[in-house]
Amino acid sequence: MITPIDYFMGLSAVIFAIGVAGMLVRRNVIVMFMSIELMLNAVNLAFVALGRRVGSMDGQVIVFFVMTVAAAEAAVGLAIIISLYRGRETLNADELNLLRW
């Protein structure tokens, strides 16, 4: 039996939510970043599934761009993390609160 499109969307939603939870719960900023990647992939999955359902290539093109941007974002984000580590000697999100009031 062909899986209905809803299942793909549901899976996407679950993976996204897991990504959100990871983002909020973990203290290590690198793991937080990985959760963000999870979220991005969940959304990619949703796009491709819907594109397939509608029958156009637009979904895939969008995913292509998302991937590209995610790559750029990962590079810059990791560079930030490195310089953060060099400055504060910690990667604990609880301790990285310089913008506090």
Binding site: V20, L24, M32, A93, L96, N97, L98, L99, R100, W101
Partner: protein, 644 residues
Amino acid sequence: MTQHFPALGLILLFPALGVIFNLFWGNRAGRGVVNFVAPTMIFLSFAVALWGLVELLLMPAGTVLEFTLWRWIEAGSFHTDIALRFDALSAVMVLVVSGVGAFIHVYSIGYMAHDEDYARFFMYMNLFEFSMLVLVLADNLLLMFVGWEGVGLCSYLLVAFWYTNPEFAYNGRKAFIVNRVGDAGFVLGILTIVTTLGAHGVWTLTFVGMRAHAGLLEPVAAAAGLLLFLGATGKSAQIPLYVWLPDAMVGPTPVSALIHAATMVTAGVYMIARLNFLYTLGPEAMRVVAIIGTLTSFFAATVAIVQPDIKRVLAYSTISQIGYMMLGVGVGAFAAGIFHLMTHAFFKSLLFLCAGSVMHALEGEQDMNRMGGLRRWLPTTWATMLIAALAISGIPPFAGFFSKDLVLESAFVSGNTGLWLIGTITVGLTSFYMFRLIFLTFHGQVRVAPDKVAHIHESPRVMTIPLMVLAVFATIGGFVGLPDGLLWGNAFQRFLTPVVGSGVAHPAEMPGVSVGPMLSLVALIVAATGILLAWIFYIRKPEIPERLEESLRAVYRILIRKYYVDEIYNFIITRPLFWGSREVLSRGVDTFVIDGMVNGTGLTVEESGEGLRKIESGNVQHYALVYLFGALMVAAYYIYLVMR
């Protein structure tokens, strides 16, 4: 008929130039130049005024010289011009103001010779002359009010001339503020007239225009008259707004002579005479004017008889004499009131200038109890002051006799016998306090402080010459208004008739004796009695005043404290006003409400900021949590949409 006469503008131009010169170049130009320029400007105005008078006399009676400068206000149908009007009444006033004023300027050269601030003084004096001339030359009520306000301002500036003394400054403020109270009434009067005329479509405030439509004003004539008179009581120092004048004596003596004797204080009388058509339509207002004038006259004279300060005696004397003028115009004898105004200008300014001369000799002493026997050192001052005293007491042939006589006669003849009686009694009081002043100052024992005796000297010529000139006028000034039947009769009244009417009609003479000479005789006897009493009290038996003072101590106290009027005003008006301002307005409204709102706004922002900043924890995950909640809500909304 009216005649275009541009030279009228010069009458105003000269003092204005004097003001500008003294304002910008006075200090640099040096004392000599300033001393020359300021009086010369006034003399020039006087010359032009004389020329105007000659023109008027040459032309048929009732001619008016006019000159319009420009259109001042244009508001719909209402318009007013800056326009000057020179008729018989203005002629008299302008000549008095500029003539007497010019000589007082000359006197000031000597009086202010030791003062460093001479440029400012002469600027203010010229400014005053300018304002007063605007007042008397205006052809409409609004422009007259401009001059009215201007002289009030100059009064403040000049009374508080030595402003570094707080008391002087206070008295200056008192003069100005009390004037302003009267001016409020004046403005209301103007508004009454404008609105009444406007209701009938007549939109003008020129005297000519108002007179032409006087019938329309009849219902409000009394009210308008009374409101305008309120302003007059302020300016002319009558009850209830006279309280500023005695305290205004702290100003330089020439100021007292010019402003508080000859000119500004007479503005009220002039205003009533100018608006005679309005007042004749409102007899109730005239009655009030006459009654207040008489009461003021009597009341001020009673206070004057015990005052020790030489200038205060003269101040109360001024109040009293203006009361006479008000009595004159109040009973309908407008020309008589103006006549007394003119003669009063001569002898009162002379009295003040002589007092200034005495003070100059005694280095500022004003207490008559510390004068005495000055006759041998100050002969010219003594002689001129004696002439002035005789004039004010109403002794013929000096000027005061004719003018006072005319006023009192008009009062009697118009049926106000009570007012005549009070006025005659006041004549006695006047001569009494006047000669008390003469005797205390110039005769008897020398009570001058010993260190000052050596420096007593007669004033320089620049001061004594104006004294002599004014003394001449005080002597012959009355001759323009002789009683009917004597030589050329009352030329003054005839001159003014086209403007102010023919005065009070004479009744048929009583059988066997004529009323006029009878009244004059009565007045003369009363005056002579006053002089005699003064002589007894202060020359023959000087112990009498002290004995009287002791036995009538309560009466004496009331008199010397001026009936406690200042204290009463302070209690009823000043203190509640200050209390209200301080507690209600300053503390309540200003500090509490307004400042509270402003400060409260700031405080609110500050405190809410303090509270709200806790949101910024710096923890990225907190922010993400907030995002999540937002996302949840959006998702919930979409579900809601989908479920429908």
